[in-house]
């Protein structure tokens, strides 16, 4: 697990910081553009002049930090030039917005949501957090031109309405080559005008990932704890498809959804066959999922038949299908070619048993949170030859 936030242990700020988003420069990243730059001090080297903020690692030998310096907590010592941070006005709270070495950055736009999913990994909050959106705008301006993948997540980003469209337009204009992935519950797109505004961004690399948890309203609405959600979500998907927008469907598998997987697959194949891809996703035991373990936990080996049937149906219906977040030893080999290494590097872990497994490098491994609940059927595969696993966009 890689920490993405921390609290400073000491700071020498002369005045409140003028803004929150900072891109790190260090001695290796000589960059004449000084916009929003903070300098990461390297060991005992002298601070170059004219930066508004300096950061020192927890291991920095100096007792007396130079002026305008914030000392990082040990868990953030991994930061380096090119990373982007949000630092609170008093320098105390630090959040990592972008790790330039990772391909799995996901930008949190809000923690507010109009769903309250049984298994939400990011439990919704109600407080106004518009500043996250403001920071995302600034982040777009700071990212290098060669950024290849940008993921946006929530909460429900479309709650921002047209402001989200503005952000994505900026993202598109500044990073035209990047694959852009947005996670949304899709309900907002039931409004044809909003779907049209989205389509007007006109970015062929833009894809929205939308969850679907049933083939009819009762199951889906229960899982997301919101009446009317299924109808709006499906209508939204249809609206986006009619405007030729790229859509990924996501089905998180747990006790409430996995037994219905074949009928969900059939519903998709028959009603939504135009989607770009379908991701069948293992459950992340974090957030609300931990509170609902009795209602949600199902050992993946228990839904092996349903998984095979759904993957077969979707694949043969020419729907591009992927299985995320599943350990290879728990799924039938016929599903292996669809398995994707999808767990973000910062929360990826392996089991001791994995060390002697022949397909460990092809396997997704575990969420860090698997320590709260995991299958007792994990076992090393001694003779495995897996297809090369792909790297997922919009990883979790």
């Amino acid at each position: 697990m890689i920490a993405l936030r921390g609290k400073t242990t000491a700071s020498t700020l002369a005045a409140p910081l003028p803004h929150s988003v900072w891109k790190l420069a260090d001695s290796g990243t000589l960059d004449t553009q000084r916009r929003s730059r903070a300098f990461l001090l390297d060991g005992g080297c002298a601070a170059p002049p004219s930066f508004n903020l300096y950061l020192a690692r927890s291991t920095d030998p100096r007792d007396d930090l130079p002026a305008n310096t914030v000392r990082l907590p040990p868990e953030l010592d991994y930061l380096s030039g090119g990373d982007v941070l949000s630092v609170s006005e008093d320098g105390e709270r630090i959040r990592v917005l972008w790790r330039h070495r990772s391909r799995q950055n996901s930008i949190l736009l809000t923690e507010r949501c109009n769903h309250y999913c049984l298994m939400c990994s990011q439990p919704p909050k109600t407080a106004n957090d518009d500043r996250l959106l403001d920071e995302a705008f600034e982040l777009m301006r700071l990212l290098p031109r060669d950024t290849m993948e940008i993921g946006f997540t929530g909460g429900e980003p479309t709650l921002y309405g047209t402001e989200l469209v503005d952000l994505l337009r900026l993202c598109t204009n500044l990073h035209p080559e990047a694959e852009v992935h947005v996670l949304s519950n899709g309900r907002r797109f039931a409004d044809p005008e909003y779907a049209a505004a989205w389509a007007s961004i006109d970015n062929p690399n833009l894809m929205v990932g939308i969850p679907i948890y049933g083939a009819e309203p009762a199951r889906h609405d229960y899982v997301v704890q919101a009446e009317g959600a299924f109808n709006e979500t499906v209508r939204g998907i249809v609206n986006l498809a009619q405007l030729k927008q790229r859509v990924e469907l996501r089905v998180v598998l747990h006790r409430q959804t996995a037994p219905a997987l074949p009928e969900i697959a059939e519903f998709i194949a028959r009603n939504l066959p135009f989607v770009d891809q379908v991701a069948l996703m293992g459950l992340e035991m974090i957030g609300l999922a931990r509170a609902n373990i009795p209602a949600l936990w199902i050992d993946p080996t228990e839904y092996a038949d349903e998984l095979v049937e759904a993957v077969t149906l979707l694949d043969r219906s020419h729907v591009h299908t992927m299985v995320y977040n599943h350990q290879l030893c728990l799924i039938p080999r016929s599903v292996w070619p669809f398995a994707v290494r999808s767990i973000s590097d910062w929360k990826n872990e392996y089991h001791p048993e994995c060390l002697r497994c022949s397909v460990k490098d092809d396997c997704g491994g575990f969420f860090f949170s698997a320590k709260y609940k995991m299958s007792d059927k994990i076992s090393a595969i001694e003779d495995g030859q897996a297809e090369p696993a792909l790297l997922a966009l919009g990883a979790d």
């Binding site: 309203p217 199951r219 229960y222």
Partner: protein, 484 residues
């Protein structure tokens, strides 16, 4: 107290269910339901009773199944109707692009003398039985009047290779014309391959022409069906198939079989013959009731009930072959399954509604007569010109396509309004065949209880559903056939 609400909080509060359009059929102990676009499910008798009595609960596995398949909806819920409309539009979108298959009868002459063949002539009189360049030019004008973006020109006979000069001319003219038309243009020659030579091969290679041939099964069966001087029809056909595979490509040749009385006990041998030839699809066809087949009573020799076990054994054998790793598609099943398992209608001329006559395929006879279907041309050879739409030398495209001879049978046979078809659970899978019913019953509609077409197709749909429901690996195979 939990922050989460129970599943019951999300069920329909009043169980205010409304029925959406569906049809049903009792099959053994169960009831088959099909919705407006042919999605299906099976209910038990008790479940069906709840549905029929309007006594469904607010939520249950049954209710969820019915909602997912758009058989019922909650009163205020518009989404199922919107999705049904979307699927129905998808299913019928082909109609705007009518007539994609254009059949040119290049010559009626043939060096075979097959007893069931309705049309061919043993003659050396080219003047009398070959299509002229002038007629072909008029036919090409008609081809490009079709609004379809996909155009396939198929050369038939007789034996079309007897008039190969005409094929060369039509292909080259069509290609030249297509430089401005920009259609997705393809060519097929339907030939017995006996006259295949280097000139034909080179031309087909240069112009991407496909070959469709006849292969009835093992040599003795095939040669009995297809007499020619030398009694070597099978040898020439199989040599030709291999030559096309090797010199043009494995996918450039396909074969069709004709079923006769002698075929009925030999379906496995027939399938094996296709496997041996390296072919990956075959079409277990019924014998058509037209032409000499009716005259010579070779149709009466067996009826649908004798043909069905032949089909069932063949289908099961093909399923078995696939499960053992030998890929083989039964084409008729694949056409039906596409209609059963997807929102697509392949528009197969004999299994689509509105009927495929004229708007799916059209036939330009050697003498310029235009027929609504190949079967219509065969009836005309027997003196019944009901399906002759006009003549290229006399009539305009508008006169041909808007003729009563075409619009009448199209409208009268439409299964959406045909008595018994409208109530039939299999209607979304089936088709209208006005030519068959005209030939056998005297009108475009026929009487369904007596209709061999109806009897055969109902049995095939039941068979396919039974195999689909019974085994996951067959389900996966059928999905592949339906979507390939």
């Amino acid at each position: 107290m939990s922050r989460f609400r129970e599943p019951t909080a999300f069920q329909a509060p009043n169980a205010d269910w409304q029925l959406l359009p569906f049809r049903f059929e009792r099959i053994d102990e169960r009831i088959l339901l099909t919705n407006l676009v042919g999605e299906h499910l099976f209910l038990s008798g008790d479940e069906f009773q709840l549905l029929a009595d309007g006594a469904l609960p607010a939520d249950s596995p049954l209710v969820r199944k019915l909602r997912a398949k758009h058989v019922i909806r909650e009163g205020s819920d518009d989404l199922p109707v919107e999705l049904l409309a979307l699927k129905a539009r998808t299913r019928y979108r082909r109609l705007a692009e009518f007539t994609s298959l254009h059949i040119f009868v290049a010559s009626l002459r043939c060096e075979h003398s097959c007893p069931y063949c309705q049309v061919s002539r043993q003659s050396s009189d080219r003047e009398a039985y070959d299509m002229s360049a002038e007629t072909a030019a008029l036919a090409l004008d008609s081809v490009f009047r079709s609004p379809s973006s996909n155009i396939k020109i198929e050369f038939q006979g007789g034996e079309p290779l007897l008039n190969f000069e005409l094929i060369e001319e039509v292909v080259e003219r069509a290609e030249a014309r297509n430089e401005s038309e920009q259609r997705n243009l393809g060519f097929v020659i339907a030939t017995n391959l006996a006259l295949l030579d280097k000139r034909v091969i080179d031309f087909c290679r240069a112009h991407g022409v496909y070959i469709s041939t006849s292969l009835d099964g093992p040599a003795d069966l095939h040669n009995k069906n297809r007499p020619r001087p030398g009694r070597n029809s099978w040898e020439l056909a199989t040599e030709g198939i291999q030559r096309v595979r090797e010199e043009l490509g494995v996918d450039r040749v396909s074969a069709l079989m004709t079923t006769t009385r002698s075929s009925l006990d030999r379906v496995r041998e027939i399938v094996d013959c296709y496997v041996e030839q390296g072919l990956t699809s075959l079409f277990l066809r019924p014998l058509s009731p037209y032409g000499f087949a009716i005259k010579t009573k070779s149709f009466d020799a067996y009826d649908v009930d004798r043909w069905l076990p032949f089909y069932e054994e063949g289908l099961d054998y093909i399923i078995e072959l696939n499960s053992q790793g030998t890929p083989m598609v039964e084409q008729y099943a694949a056409i039906a399954l596409k209609k059963m398992l997807t929102n697509d209608d392949p528009g197969y001329v004999d299994l689509t509604s509105p009927a495929g006559i004229g708007i799916g395929a059209i036939v330009y006879n050697y003498d310029g007569d235009v027929y609504a279907s190949d079967e219509g041309r065969m009836l005309a050879e027997m003196g019944d010109t009901t399906f002759r739409l006009g003549n290229l030398h006399r009539d305009s495209y508008e006169e041909i396509m808007l003729s009563d001879a075409l619009l009448g049978p199209l409208e009268e046979s439409f299964t959406g309004s045909a008595p018994m078809c409208t109530d039939c659970a299999f209607e979304p899978y089936c088709g209208a065949d006005p030519t068959y019913h005209h030939a056998t019953a005297g009108d475009y509609l026929g009487r369904k209880p007596n209709s061999g077409f109806c009897r055969r197709n109902m049995a095939i749909f039941k068979l396919l559903l039974d195999r689909y429901e019974s085994d996951p690996s067959t389900r996966a195979l059928f999905t592949t056939w339906a979507t390939h």
